[in-house]
């Protein structure tokens, strides 16, 4: 690990967040076969450290934008767990009253911008929010998470150019897990030179290849300081790995598009395990118990919550 002995409070926070996300999604996977969750789920299991490392150094009133694979980012930014489970269940108490499901999570109170099921669409939207923050001039920033596939959409290049041209307070974070559904980078990228390319828009870039949560955190912290001091957009490419299938609760290593060896490599360096080892058993157990309690409460909240009233079908079509 890049950080030998991290500040214990920070360590506890990071472990808590990693563990909360992992366990929440394992619980989702457990519940999934019951069909209580009638929404496609794109699990982040294995990719938690990117969201956790970055969001740990965000201010509460900073803004975070993520994708349909957004559970990790949502929770790392402090999104409401009860409302998330209720939303997945399609209940009226969900963050969007059951209209969003897993792919369109939002929690503006926690600074979580709405997610999108159309790859790449959130990138310019996050930049637009950053444009408003620049005018506001209170030092707030926007963080924009997206996958390697999203960088292939033209709107990504267009947004980088505009964000740099106007010196927007935005941190772009690419979670490069090497796949778009089942399509490997080699089918999609002419060259693996993402940071190099982004820097041609005069945006400072940072590459983290091993998913190290502390390295990601350190890098994000420095990048955010630069942004807040008016240096304009920054870019991070974090190599990571999706442990589960693209969509759904299971694994898919029996399919020929990737091998379990890849998983093994990433599991050996799982930040959740390594941070767990850095904690005292007592401390760790306290956190684990707290997390189980919170998740159990959230599931119960979702199960006990009512379905949305049928008149809700026609609410929020237009804003007053």
């Amino acid at each position: 690990m890049s950080v030998k002995c991290p500040d214990p409070e920070m360590l506890a926070r990071v472990y808590y967040s990693l563990r909360l996300i992992r366990r929440t999604e394992e619980e989702i996977a457990r519940i999934y076969p019951s069909d209580k969750i009638k929404s496609p789920v794109h699990l982040s299991i294995g990719q938690e450290s990117v969201s956790v490392g970055v969001c740990d150094v965000l201010e509460k009133n900073d803004i975070m934008s993520a994708t349909y694979r957004g559970h990790a980012a949502y929770l790392a930014k402090g999104g409401n767990l009860n409302q998330m489970f209720a939303e997945l269940y399609g209940k009226g108490t969900g963050g969007a009253g059951g209209k969003a499901g897993s792919m369109h999570l939002i929690d503006m109170k926690a600074g979580v911008l709405g997610m999108s099921a159309v790859v790449g669409t959130t990138i310019p939207v996050a930049a637009g929010y950053a444009l408003a923050l620049k005018r506001e001039n209170l030092g707030r920033v926007t963080v924009c998470f997206f996958g390697d596939g999203a960088t292939e959409e033209g709107v990504f290049s267009e947004t980088l150019n505009f964000a740099s041209l106007h010196n927007l307070p935005i941190l772009f974070v690419c979670e490069n897990n090497g796949f778009a559904i089942h399509s490997p980078l080699s089918n999609r990228w002419a060259k693996e030179a993402l940071c190099e390319r982004v820097s041609t828009y005069s945006i400072s870039t940072h590459e983290i290849s091993d998913g190290d949560v502390f390295a990601i955190r350190q890098t994000a912290k420095a990048a955010l300081n630069a942004i807040r001091s008016g240096e304009g957009p920054q870019f991070m490419e974090c190599k990571t790995y999706r442990w589960r299938e693209h969509v759904g609760p299971g694994e898919d290593y029996d399919e020929d598009y990737r091998s379990r060896d890849e998983l093994t490599f990433w599991q050996k360096n799982d930040p959740l395990t390594t941070t767990a080892k850095m904690l005292t058993d007592l401390k760790r157990q306290a956190i684990d118990i707290d997390i189980e309690k919170k998740i159990a409460e959230a599931v119960k909240f979702a199960e006990d919550s009512p379905w949305p009233d049928s008149k809700e079908l026609f609410s929020h079509v237009y804003a007053d």
């Binding site: 969007a96 310019p124 637009g128 005018r135 267009e158 505009f162 237009y318």
Partner: protein, 353 residues
């Protein structure tokens, strides 16, 4: 239109009315800003954005790269943060680059996110015509936006509505597609100096009549009014209606007129198939069965550049009058007005851009 009785009413062109609406809203609300390619240049989008840069600076009058898709998303994001962007497109055809953001994000955000966010933005788009605008600079695509819940669509046809609808669009908390037509720019009308709102969803009877109801959308309203004059010469009294806003659409006003005249002809500044005319005719027929209904619009072809073919591509006062005549007097043989009125703005209009 009570405000029209104000003392401080002057004759203003459509261009100046748009310009004034935006300027006044920018003064009233610092969250309003204008963004789009060349909005800050010496031509100022045919004058509609002229002077705004000098008055409000480049932070609120932003030139952009050619990146319509991203700029649309950027407008959406800034709107979610409380700003009120006005995104300018010099041709409606370019909105085809913005469909993903406008339809998958702007139209759906408020609903999809359970009301946690709003997208108050205006997409201004100009429909081109004549001087060889051709296939890609002439399209009227408003029906595509009418089709999608969450979007509003307005198409004012005079300077008074241009200002009132623009102020309403800017203040609206939803994405509004603002449909302008190049040939309306030089037309003028009495316009109050003070800010005012033209509420969406109110169609306007611009010429009363009893034999047939003509609905003219965007620039085609001008042709319908001229057709009304031609028809009056043969004793046919046509009622002409301007829907003003297409979504929301004031179908009841149109239907009550059509029920009275028994005949409905919708003339759109666009193709007819699955167009605004189809919507209006279908919606009226769902309410009452009329003796005769019809649609006119662009020919079912791509728009040619050569004037001889372009002339046949568009409905005009004469062809509208002929069609209306055949609907009112189906038994009589076809009638063609011998005069073809030259419309004022066609004289004023300076092509090609």
């Amino acid at each position: 239109m009570s405000t029209q009785t104000d003392l401080n009413v002057r004759i203003l062109s459509y261009v100046d009315a748009l310009n004034e609406a935006v300027e006044q809203e920018m003064e009233l609300d610092e969250n309003v800003f204008v963004i789009g390619l060349n909005v800050d240049d010496h031509k100022g989008i045919q004058g509609t954005t002229q002077g705004l840069l000098e008055k409000f600076g480049s932070e609120r009058v932003m030139d952009t790269p050619l990146s319509e898709d991203a700029i649309t998303g950027i407008c959406i994001g800034s709107a979610m943060a409380g700003m009120r962007p006005i995104h300018v497109h010099i041709r409606m055809d370019f909105l085809l680059l913005c469909m993903n953001q406008l339809i998958n994000m702007a139209a759906k955000a408020h609903y999809m996110y359970g009301g946690q966010t709003k997208v108050p933005m205006v997409a201004r788009s100009i429909i081109g015509k004549s001087w060889g605008q051709g296939a890609q600079h002439s399209q009227g695509l408003h029906s595509m936006f009418m089709h999608v819940p969450g979007l509003k669509v307005v198409a004012p046809t005079n300077a008074y509505d241009a200002k009132g609808c623009m102020m309403a669009a800017i203040r609206d908390n939803n994405p509004v597609i603002f449909v302008e037509h190049r040939l309306l720019y030089s037309t003028d009308a009495p316009v109050p100096v003070d800010p005012y709102i033209v509420d969406f969803g109110n169609a306007r009877v611009v010429g009363e009549g009893s034999d047939i109801t003509l609905v003219g959308i965007s620039y085609m309203l001008i042709e319908c009014l001229a057709a009304r004059d031609l028809l009056s010469e043969v004793g046919i009294s046509a009622e002409v209606i301007d829907p003003v806003s297409l979504m929301p659409l004031d179908i009841d006003s149109i239907a009550s007129s059509a029920k009275r005249t028994g005949k409905l002809l919708v003339v759109d500044n666009a193709w007819t198939t699955a167009g605004a005319g189809a919507e209006i005719v279908a919606a009226v027929c769902e309410q009452a069965s009329l003796s005769s209904v019809g649609r006119m619009g662009y020919a079912s072809t791509t728009c040619p550049t050569t004037p001889t073919l372009e002339k046949l591509f568009y409905p005009n006062a004469a062809s509208i009058a002929t069609r209306a005549f055949s609907m009112v007097r189906p038994k009589e043989k076809q009638w063609k007005p011998d005069v073809e009125p030259i419309l004022p703005h066609e004289v004023a209009f300076r092509g090609p851009f």
